[in-house]
Amino acid sequence: MVDDRQLERWFCEEVLPLEASLTRYLRRNWRTAEQIMDIRQDIYEAALTGGRQELPANTPGYVFTIARNILINRAKRERIVQFEHYADMESVDQGVDLSATDRHLDARDALRRAQEGIERLPPRCREVVRLRKIEGLSTREAAARMGVGIDTIERQLVLGIRAMADAMLGGAGKIRRGGAASTGKARRQ
């Protein structure tokens, strides 16, 4: 068994750097864009579940194999996918090769992602992220500074965290807002 600390480190250092190419791969091979995030999440979940037994020697190969299997299973389940999708998935190895290059992000790329990410945030959200990341204000201080409620700051931070994490991992940094359904879920339970 791999303990959580090791597992998290492997996930952050080996799996997450593949996110940009993994997402591209999913887009190429799955036509419903709204489902990409769900599928990616399933892949991560499966990768962690397997990785807990033993960390793989070749992480890109491992992750993209999982991706391919999950896509095929989904395709079978939905019965809407045409044959050529299966053929495309045979090209998974190519995806792996390309992905390897994504892993060595230099500081310049990371900075570019940070800048692009923050520029894409909606103005109010950007201000909250600035106050947190640049000024280091707490939620309470940020609320006082902006003259808004703590709830507002928290809501904007949730969006900011999701969008900036996505941007830093090579995504577009655009996120769909969560509905009211989950509001307060992580609050006092």
Binding site: L16, Q41, E135, R140, I161, M164, A165, A186
Partner: protein, 340 residues
């Protein structure tokens, strides 16, 4: 909302709470319980925590965002009040700025060219001087004050007339500066819309149109946007740092000494690439030749390459493309074409 979004939203809320400054042992236990519920929770939480921590880099951005901002003033003040890492430097710069910038302090000994290497016409000591290197040629010049400037390929540099202060204009190309420190007489490099004020140091400036890159080998420099209106925007960078200035702002990469070294490889006649796009590497090579290399298609240009290459031996570079990447290289009337 789909499942993944819901989980991600909840994970983000946990991070917000954890960072709120009011985090108790109970909270910690509750988070652990949530994480243990499903591997999907761990995946989402670890991913966000990792990505959000990486976003700390925004602290190193001394930039003005391209998007119009209703509260630009306030945004700038926010930067000024920021953490020491990003901001101490800028505050210090503001202190130093007093008295320099466009008002020039006169140098007691005057300033101009002492001698020029490679048999350039010797300028009259009092006149402004323009020096130009052809494609593929590097040249070192010594300035009257003891400072040294090395011009890279296809570079145009002008110096101020004598008694006009220590000023150099980089009109085009790239140059390395080794500047004699004089506390009361700053050395200023103008690169298009950017002004680099030297606080005694060695550094390089590269200009591609509006894009200006400054890499510091030792000491400190301040980069200002001369085109900015009333509110001057500036960033101070030190040893091992790189500033990338473009029309919409300046990005600062702190502590990137390996990259700085790579960027000054031309002084030793080499180009150093570390996981760069083939397209960019080729563009770098093409700065040194009149027989440019072209890449036939965009996906080939995206191949990442690394390595150290002799500037005057592009054949070795092309060989590598052929043998290691299986690309086809052929010559035509206009230059060299690289094809998949």
């Amino acid at each position: 909302m789909n499942r993944a979004t819901m989980i991600e939203d909840t994970a983000a809320r946990w991070i917000v709470r954890q960072e709120s400054g009011e985090w108790s042992a109970e909270d910690d236990a509750a988070l652990t319980a949530w994480l243990d519920e499903q591997m999907a929770h761990k995946a989402a939480f670890w991913r966000l925590r990792h990505g959000w921590a990486a976003a700390d880099r925004v602290g190193a951005l001394g930039f003005q965002t391209a998007a119009p901002r209703s509260r630009a003033r306030r945004g700038w003040q926010a930067v000024l009040r920021a953490r020491p890492r990003a901001i101490g430097a800028i505050a210090a710069a503001l202190a130093v700025t007093v008295g320099i910038g466009t008002t020039l302090v006169r140098s007691p000994t005057g300033f101009g060219l002492g001698h020029i290497a490679q048999e350039k016409a010797s300028p009259s000591a009092s006149a402004p001087v323009r020096i130009q290197t052809p494609v593929g040629v590097r040249q070192a010049i010594a300035l009257r004050d003891g400072s040294r400037v090395e011009l890279n390929t296809a570079t145009v540099v002008r110096t101020a007339a004598r008694d006009q202060g220590r000023e150099v204009w980089l009109d085009k190309g790239e140059a390395y500066f080794d500047i004699v420190h004089r506390p009361d007489d700053p050395f200023v490099v103008h690169a298009g819309p950017r002004t680099v004020t030297v606080l005694g140091t060695r550094f390089t400036v590269r200009r591609d149109g509006d894009k200006v890159t400054v890499a510091v080998l030792s000491g400190r420099v301040r980069i200002e946007d001369a085109s900015a209106g009333t509110g001057t925007r500036s960033a101070v960078i030190g040893q091992g740092d790189i500033a990338y200035a473009q029309s919409h702002g300046t990005l600062v990469a702190l502590a990137a000494p390996a990259r700085v070294e790579a960027m000054t490889g031309w002084r030793d006649g080499v180009l150093v690439f570390d996981n760069q796009r083939l397209g960019d590497a080729v563009a770098d090579f093409n700065r040194y030749t009149n027989r440019p290399i072209r890449i036939a298609d965009p996906s080939t240009a995206d191949i990442r390459i690394g390595g150290t290459f002799q500037i005057d031996n592009s054949a070795g570079f092309l060989d590598l493309l052929q043998s290691a990447y299986g690309l086809k290289v052929r010559s035509d009337a206009n230059g060299i074409v690289v094809e998949p």
